[in-house]
């Protein structure tokens, strides 16, 4: 289990399968990526691409019948010890979750417990991992609320989640996640349920907190606009596999996989989609739909929807190969 000194998380050939007596759904099938200290890695993909299952695998939060079927998840804790989270049991995870790796979720409306005040819920996180008194936990919770820029924090400490807006609740989630100073934050579509203006504020906040605390962020999203805002590196997933991986600037400048090209063309863009005379261009959409994970084509998973597809694409799944400064799982990546 070796890990570069500046790498905090290394997912290697991760396989997370949902096995029932009727079928096996390979939701994540051989995913590999590294996340460096203080960096943000965006994992991009549509629903069913395996991006959320990847994050739940790292946290050990898979629900039955999902289980890790192979590969490793190497994680470096604050004492520089390297753990393989893929081999962790429930007891081991309790020491890592919250303290070393924290997570925020898509739905701020439902991710907080409606029956406890936000102060209690943040304080609980601190009390779980550090020997603090009730009043210390409370004052630390207040400190965290101020840190995430909740106005008039002292008076909001005893508020219940339903008394707050979605944006405020997501701030509370962030305050709670960062309360014990984790070195890795997993953000699973944290802005998807929010209005665009609030979305920008939350992204701003995450960026600032990252500078302040130096934590790494694994950012799960389907929104390439958000990726451009926050990520240093990008992993694009399709059908449970990584199809392209590159630094953010290179990815936006030059996509080495047809799926990434398609995704980017699907993103609305005011300057491109409306011509100077006011004519609207039809928004591009990738033809077809994501195949169910239990019925992937034998070759490249994207082949049925790909306008660059060749006969060879149908025969065997293409390997992930170097392409430009990154990687692409396309046999024609050099031509793209």
């Amino acid at each position: 289990m070796t890990l570069d000194a500046d790498t905090i998380l290394s997912v290697r050939d991760l396989k997370t399968w949902f096995v029932t007596h009727r079928m096996t759904a390979k939701a994540v099938d051989g995913v590999t990526f590294d996340l460096k200290r203080g960096e943000t890695l965006a994992v991009v993909g549509e629903s069913g691409s395996g991006k959320s299952v990847t994050s739940l695998s790292i946290m050990g939060l898979l629900s039955r019948p999902g289980a890790i079927a192979g590969g490793s998840i190497l994680f470096r804790d604050r004492k520089e010890r390297v753990h393989d989270l893929a081999a962790f049991g429930p007891k081991d995870f309790r020491k890592i979750r919250g303290r070393e790796i924290a997570m925020i979720f898509q739905e701020p409306m439902t991710s907080l417990n409606p029956l406890y005040t936000v102060g209690d819920q943040i304080g609980e996180m601190i009390a779980l991992h550090e020997p603090v008194s009730r009043s210390e936990a409370r004052s630390r919770a207040l400190e965290m609320l101020r840190l995430v820029e909740i106005p008039d924090a002292a008076s909001r400490l005893d508020d219940y989640p339903h008394q707050m807006s979605g944006g405020m609740r997501q701030r509370v989630m962030i305050a709670m996640a960062l309360a014990c100073g984790p070195s890795l934050l997993i953000a699973d579509e944290p802005t998807t349920a929010l209005d665009v203006t609030i979305q920008a504020q939350i992204l701003d906040l995450l960026r600032r907190l990252q500078e302040q605390f130096g934590m790494s962020i694994l950012f799960i999203t389907h929104n390439l606009g958000v990726v451009a805002e926050i990520a240093h590196n990008v992993v694009v997933m399709y059908g449970g596999r990584v199809v392209e991986q590159a630094p953010v600037n290179d990815l936006f400048a030059h996509q080495r996989h047809p799926y990434t090209k398609g995704l980017l063309a699907c993103t609305p863009n005011a300057t491109r989609d409306i011509s100077p005379d006011g004519e609207r261009q039809a928004l591009y959409s990738i033809p077809g739909s994501v195949p169910p994970i239990t019925a992937l084509p034998p070759g490249c998973a994207f082949e049925p929807r790909c306008k660059f597809a060749l006969k060879a694409c149908r025969e065997a799944p293409p390997p992930l190969v170097s392409a430009g400064v990154g990687f692409s799982r396309c046999i024609r990546s050099a031509e793209l």
């Binding site: 939060l61 995870f93 979750r97 919250g98 997570m103 979720f105 417990n113 779980l128 219940y160």
Partner: protein
């Protein structure tokens, strides 16, 4: 909180006023002269007149109502026709076994139902869950009097651990009196636990998949803390509702069990009063039971307020 409590309290008073009115009307709409009906065909005219006076059936309907309400407000439900004592006294004398029987059966039912329901939901589909489901179905289908008879046969007659029936004579110490309640309380408690178990399981299943339960896990707390602190509290409202309903049912529904075990409780009193058409006793018991129902509901409403900050009345 205080405002909500006052609101509910007002609602309670309205319900009780309605109950009092309905109970008053029932006797007045009985076909014929209730006094004559009660005394049977052989009664003399003087006897009937005397009973009419006793029942407060003389005077205009408004006068009758005023007298009746005044009595109820003083907890005076009149004089029992057959027991030769005030209805209030008759009820008080028989309140103790019914009260303790209700409390004990409810405690037993809850003590069984909560853990079994929670574990069933947590281990959904497991052997434990299936066994618990089967047992709950069985308990729900068994009449409590039959279970009572079975208990008497086995624990009282065969093993001799308990008395077969009764509540001890006058002057029996409290602890010994309570000993008489063990078998009936278990018979009632086991049967009532079935419904509470099913509700607990269903309600827990609902919340165990909620996002905040996943959030709780992601904070690094142990499973039992996740289940008992974060999930159970959210599941509690429907569970409390069904516990409250069970309590109310037990208050009025212990009649059969009291009869089987020969307990001199309110249920027994009501049964004999109905058989003898002792109207004042029936009316008094109706009011007391309705009052307890309303009180239990009020208690449950207050618990909602304590548990869920989103509840408003």
């Amino acid at each position: 909180m205080l405002r909500a409590a006052l609101n509910r309290l007002f609602g309670m008073l309205v319900v009780m006023a309605l109950v009092v009115t309905v109970v008053f009307v029932i006797v007045r709409v009985t076909p014929g002269d209730p006094a004559a009906v009660m005394l049977g065909p052989d009664a003399s005219a003087e006897d009937i007149e005397q009973l009419r006076e006793k029942l407060g059936l003389n005077g205009t309907i408004l006068e009758q109502f005023a007298n009746y309400v005044a009595g109820v407000l003083r907890a005076d439900f009149g004089q029992s026709i057959f027991l030769g004592q005030p209805v209030t006294q008759a009820l008080m004398d028989r309140a103790e076994p019914t009260f303790f029987l209700t409390i004990f059966s409810l405690l037993i039912a809850t003590a069984i139902a909560l853990p079994v329901g929670i574990l069933s939901a947590y281990w959904r589909g497991s052997m434990f869950d299936q066994a618990a489901t089967a047992l709950a179905m069985f308990a729900a289908s068994v009449p409590s009097f039959w279970l009572g008879l079975l208990f008497i046969q086995f624990f009282a007659v065969h093993l001799g651990w308990f008395a077969t029936s009764g509540y001890g004579g006058p002057g029996t110490p409290l602890f010994e009196r309570l000993h008489y309640l063990v078998l009936p309380a278990f018979a009632l408690g086991l049967v009532s636990s079935a419904l509470i178990t099913r509700f607990t399981r269903a309600s827990m299943l609902d919340v165990l998949n909620d996002d905040y339960v996943r959030t709780a896990r992601s904070k690094g707390m142990g499973e039992w803390r996740v289940v008992l602190k974060h999930a159970l509290k959210n599941a509690l409202i429907p569970i409390l509702t069904v516990i409250g309903l069970t309590a109310a049912l037990l208050i009025s529904g212990a009649v059969v069990t009291e009869t089987v075990f020969g307990l001199p409780g309110v249920g027994n009193l009501v049964v004999s009063a109905v058989l003898r058409r002792d109207y004042p006793v029936i009316q008094g018991a109706l009011l007391v039971i309705a009052g307890l129902y309303v009180l239990v509901n009020f208690g449950i409403d207050m618990l909602y307020l304590l548990i869920d900050p989103r509840v408003r009345y």
